[in-house]
């Protein structure tokens, strides 16, 4: 039996969405970084957004299950830090999908302390009259904000 080619593998992997942010695929997010196939064995390189992310085991299982569905029994998942995942890897398309889902995209800065004062636009009404309620949020990758105009809480993706 002929095993599917690399393009087919990528198309399958593109279907895997972030468990916390179901509008973004792991490929969109650049969490899935590289795929190599050799002698029927697939190596998938992933880079976690935050290394303590509890969704990582689920993500690895999902990758293996989907590739098994394509006929690949031998799948190896490697974690790469070359380079480490950065919120800069979210392109404008990914940032827009976050906004549409109700999560403000990450502040674009290389200085983490600056994120305390860089304002976030409300993803619901667009207002800049917002403030940070919590430096930490419900998940490792998000922080808590409040919009003083439409009076809703929202989260912003952390800059990392």
């Amino acid at each position: 039996m002929q095993l599917p080619d690399e393009r087919t593998i990528w198309r399958e992997l593109e279907k895997i969405t972030d468990p916390e942010i179901p509008v973004l695929s792991l490929v969109d997010m650049k969490i899935i970084r590289e795929v190599t196939v050799r002698d029927g064995k697939v190596s998938v390189s992933i880079s976690p957004t935050f290394v303590g992310c509890p969704a990582l085991d689920h993500i690895k299982d999902e990758i293996k299950t989907r590739l098994a569905g394509l006929g690949f029994a031998d799948v190896e998942i490697l974690t790469t830090y070359t380079p480490p995942w950065s919120s800069d890897m979210l392109d404008e398309n990914a940032r827009e999908k976050l906004r549409a889902f109700g999560i403000a995209p990450p502040a674009q800065t290389s200085e983490i302390p600056a994120t305390l004062i860089i304002p976030a636009a409300c993803p619901f009404c667009g207002s800049m009259h917002t403030h940070m309620e919590g430096e930490f949020g419900a998940t490792l990758c998000k922080q808590l904000f409040y919009c003083d105009d439409c009076r809703q809480s929202f989260e912003r993706f952390k800059t990392v």
Partner: protein, 266 residues
């Protein structure tokens, strides 16, 4: 997937370094997690729960590197070792104490992490460079938070100052134990793996002494010719795997569920 160290590097010393890093993160992560549901305010409950989760994640990364070099799994390292086999410093094993102690401990640890990880980014060992490049960006949020708390609580009210000063008095000698010399450390310095604990301690003192002092806290350090000196006895022993009963209690707690059913699938 296993990796090999360059043969020029002293293998046992590198493993000692990685183990110390992993064990420190695991223990502090566990102590931080003890605040979940018990913090003085909700925001701090969320903050320390996040920080704890990050620390545990960091321990997993270091244990995973250890696994690539030795074949021993992170679960085996965390859940199957006896308390007398851990190489964490005493500092991270002590009970969480009151919030003042916790804030001071977190701040002192976070500054040490900044110094360590920044140094590792220049390491001759590629894995250390790459992992540190990732971890240092996550740690930046911890330091931002703990530093902010020290600034605010150090001299806010008489009560907050009292708790914070008591925290510094207790934590400072303990913190010095983070920099206890590792066995074979000279070999690591010579090969450029890291600059050594003495250098890291000096860097750390240059950060924490001015910061704590500016928050109106008294620190047992003096300054001579531009360098900070401490003349108190450091709480060493952890790196030699000589521990107090506090670690035994922590490990019994940490391993309690695993021990009941070691083969359980979660």
């Amino acid at each position: 997937m296993s990796i090999d160290l360059p043969s020029s590097l002293p293998r046992e010393s590198v493993l000692s370094l990685i183990l110390a890093l992993a064990d420190d993160e695991l223990m502090l992560g566990h102590r931080d997690s003890e605040w979940t549901g018990h913090s003085p305010i909700l925001e701090e409950d969320i903050a320390f729960s996040n920080i704890a989760q990050d620390e545990l994640g960091h321990s997993l990364v270091w244990y995973s590197l250890y696994e690539q070099l030795t074949g021993k799994s992170p679960d085996a390292m965390a859940f199957e070792r006896s308390w007398s086999e851990f190489a964490c410093c005493h500092f991270v094993t002590y009970p969480k104490g009151d919030f003042g102690y916790t804030v001071v401990r977190q701040y002192l640890f976070d500054e040490a992490e900044q110094a360590r990880l920044a140094a590792f980014e220049q390491s001759t060992l590629q894995s250390l460079r790459e992992i540190s490049g990732k971890l240092i960006r996550e740690e930046a949020y911890h330091l931002l938070h703990s530093k902010g708390l020290v600034e605010r609580l150090g001299d806010a009210t008489e009560e907050s100052h009292r708790h914070m000063q008591a925290g510094v008095d207790q934590a400072f000698p303990q913190a010095l134990g983070m920099f206890e010399k590792l066995e074979g450390e000279d070999g690591l310095i010579e090969k450029g793996v890291f600059p050594g604990n003495d250098a890291l301690k000096r860097e750390w003192l240059d950060r924490v002494v001015p910061m704590l002092t500016s928050a109106k806290l008294t620190v047992p350090a003096s300054q001579t010719n531009g360098s900070h000196i401490v003349d108190i006895k450091p709480d060493d022993g952890g790196r030699k795997k000589s521990h107090t009963q506090h670690l035994k209690q922590l490990v019994d707690d940490l391993q309690q569920v695993y021990r009941i059913a070691p083969k359980a699938k979660w």
